[in-house]
Symmetry: C2
Subunit: 445 residues, 2 copies
């Protein structure tokens, strides 16, 4: 993409309403624009990152054997009355009357609707296990929306629902989600720690939240410092294996890690003092096992092997897709701007032409741009007639992990400059080697 043909409205000034760094940088980098309180338009750069995150979530869900579908945003109030949640949910639910006077709502979550889908079709234990998920816009009418996409009202979420014959099977689904979430977050360059949490309005006994450590996090968290040494890495896992998934759960949840809602001071104090940590965390996901809480009142039963009708065991599992952009920026930035992890960067590499209009520099930049496109990579070429300083500031702000700087002086020696956004380190090398090096970095992801 040539910047002259793109829509990247960079703001010079820091918007007054933005209290945290991710919100500031998303506004300044032209990623989002507030449409109304807690509701945002995703401008082209923000939309690209949102799609990258969504794609990673889809890939990891499907790798774990979960089946995508898509439920609508607008739901009938009737289903929520049947599950008993309509009156309980409170003012966060956006309630709507349609032109016929029917009571509708903008879904804040989908346990009720997915249970209705399940009971409409599934009759036999032979059709289990089954996990269905979707990535869809939700609405929660927060009293005080703030922090940009971190606590918005209209937000994008992956919510998945498992249906199993027994509690044991459902706990395997729970563990399988935990494993797939670890992989998901690591692909985005995040360390998200599973912590024992409170189940809130979803219900259920077993639940873990995934928290990214950041000073601006809304939750206070307490944990054993050994946890931050754990990495899922590129280990192979068989998601059908009860033992393998259970082992990962144990590895990642056996040490103390809790949010303030479930914090137990006495237990915490049993950790050796030098390993006790308290910090702030951003919640980026949560998994629940809630048994038959929805299947019983809504009649979601199957026939078991003995011919009896039994309610299915369920859980639900969420990833805050749109809020992840904020979480990633909170965890990865400096005073010049965002530093995107390679897995989610909107463009793979930036190309800065130091002397737009110089025939040789223009030709070299065009060639670099076209080489990357031919390799299936997505470069952003700043071809504007601007000063170098302004071009560097834009690249730093929008946070592309790699930048290639092209100027007449370097080209005389046959080189361009390749710079890492994270380390700031640069090296000079021939253009074709710069392309190879960048391509190799992305091929290794």
């Amino acid at each position: 993409m040539r910047l002259s043909r793109y829509f990247l409205p960079i703001l010079r000034e820091t918007p007054a309403e933005a209290q945290i760094v991710s919100h500031r940088y998303m506004l300044r980098a032209g990623m989002i624009k507030q449409a109304s309180a807690g509701i945002y338009s995703w401008l082209p750069l923000g939309y690209k990152v949102l799609k990258k995150i969504e794609t990673i979530v889809h890939e990891e869900q499907q790798r774990a054997g979960h089946i995508p579908l898509l439920m609508p945003t607008i739901q009938s109030a009737d289903l929520w009355r049947e599950s008993g949640r309509y009156d309980a949910y409170g003012d966060e639910m956006l309630r709507i009357k349609d032109r016929q006077g029917r009571e509708m709502l903008y879904g804040p979550t989908n346990e009720d609707m997915i249970t209705d889908i399940f009971r409409s079709y599934i009759r036999s234990y032979k059709d289990l296990p089954l996990t269905l998920y979707h990535i869809q816009w939700k609405f929660r009418d927060e009293m005080r929306p703030r922090f940009g996409v971190m606590r918005g009202r209209e937000f994008l979420m992956k919510d998945g629902y498992n249906f199993d014959l027994t509690k044991e099977d459902a706990l395997h689904a729970y563990n399988r989600h935990l494993v797939s979430y670890l992989r998901t977050y690591e692909r985005m360059g995040l360390q998200a720690i599973p912590m024992r949490a409170d189940s809130g309005p979803i219900g259920g006994d077993d639940t873990h939240e995934f928290l990214v450590l950041a000073d601006t996090g809304e939750s206070e968290v307490f944990y054993d410092s050994e946890i931050t040494d754990l990495k899922f890495g590129d280990r192979e896992i068989d998601y059908d294996s009860v033992e393998q998934c259970q082992a990962v759960l144990e590895e990642f949840t056996s040490r103390y890690a809790r949010t303030d809602e479930t914090h137990d001071e006495a237990l915490f104090n049993q950790i050796p003092e030098e390993r006790r940590r308290s910090a702030r965390g951003i919640e980026v996901g949560q998994i629940f096992y809630f048994g038959t809480k929805y299947s019983e009142p809504m009649g979601a039963t199957v026939q078991n092997a003995e011919g009896a009708q039994v309610p299915v065991h369920m859980g639900s599992h969420g990833i805050g897709v749109s809020r992840l952009l904020g979480a990633i920026i909170e965890a990865s930035h400096d005073d010049k701007g965002i530093i995107w992890p390679e897995g989610v960067t909107p463009f793979h590499v930036g190309i800065v032409n130091l002397k737009q209009g110089d025939a040789e520099a223009d030709a070299a930049c065009d060639a670099l741009h076209d080489s990357f496109v031919a390799l299936g990579l997505d470069p952003l070429y700043d071809d504007r007639d601007e000063r170098a300083g302004g071009k560097f500031a834009t690249m730093d702000l929008i946070g592309l992990p790699w930048r290639i700087t092209v100027g007449p002086r370097g080209l005389k020696n046959g080189v361009v400059e390749l710079t890492s956004r994270r380390t700031g380190e640069s090296e000079e090398l021939p253009p074709e080697d710069a392309v190879k090096k960048v391509a190799a970095i992305y091929a290794s992801l």
Copy 2:
């Protein structure tokens, strides 16, 4: 995908509420489930087709140089008051009050919001031309939702908006959209004819609707039969070329083709009688040029080369993404079920094992399945322990364009059977040749 692990709830009986064939087949093939009147859940098979269509629309929009972003579903009423449309839009607009009593609405279209985005950032003619688009859920509170996804209330639409300095530039954007739409529909296996239409609540003088001919279409259309011989085909086009885009517009719109709203009997009668056609059509897209209708009241101006502030010339351009599933099925089915064009089929090929449990047949099916996956293709392997008749009926109903039938008798002779859903023709060939043949068909798209 192995069918035993998928969620494909086939209905044996034809649902009573479905009046047209696409609605019947989408329900029977387990593609959609009604959530409430005019609002559907997209079950896994339906969701897959929806994503394929969405992907084609994205690719063709970006090929034409249009930039994707994403505006929210919930809008503030204030913007609509500014453009003068809030009171005019009528009961089809779903109006909402949030917990603070603010007037909101579920966007039925986005001219107002995109104009607000534009005016917030763009100051100079140098930033033009610009076309921004998104694919987002819309809501129109139809009095009588019907025909499944063809006339739903919550529906997915691509809507794009061009911003240009002059009327001439905006008409080039109009033509560019027409060209890209022709490509888009052809990739989905559809012939969609641009017809002079009425602009309705969007406003403006120049507008064409794209109609797919089908007996169940909601519009009566009148056209010169020569039009149906036109094909865009695989011609190369430079979307920046005013001349090339204009030539395509002239080629595809110079013959008589109008909906009943703009039909002119006298003009129609000038066509030689043997070429006069009247038929039914399904609207699958519409393009508009409406000049300064929104930019003037909303103050979307730029500085021109002479330093004067001038309102930009705009148009908007829509493709009914979710309704396209219905249109494709209306145009491509038989009495056994859907016949998907290769460009949008949910799975590339079906594999039917005639004797599940037979070691040789199971191994051959597994090998076929894995060969397709290794080639990046997406097979659906019916590995259920069912009678062959039931498996064939399912494959015919869900409409995969190619089916490979594997049985012990054929395997003794080293062959499987490859069957075209469209023609019903079969041929016997070695499994590896069947894979090659199917792969070649998709590689040629």
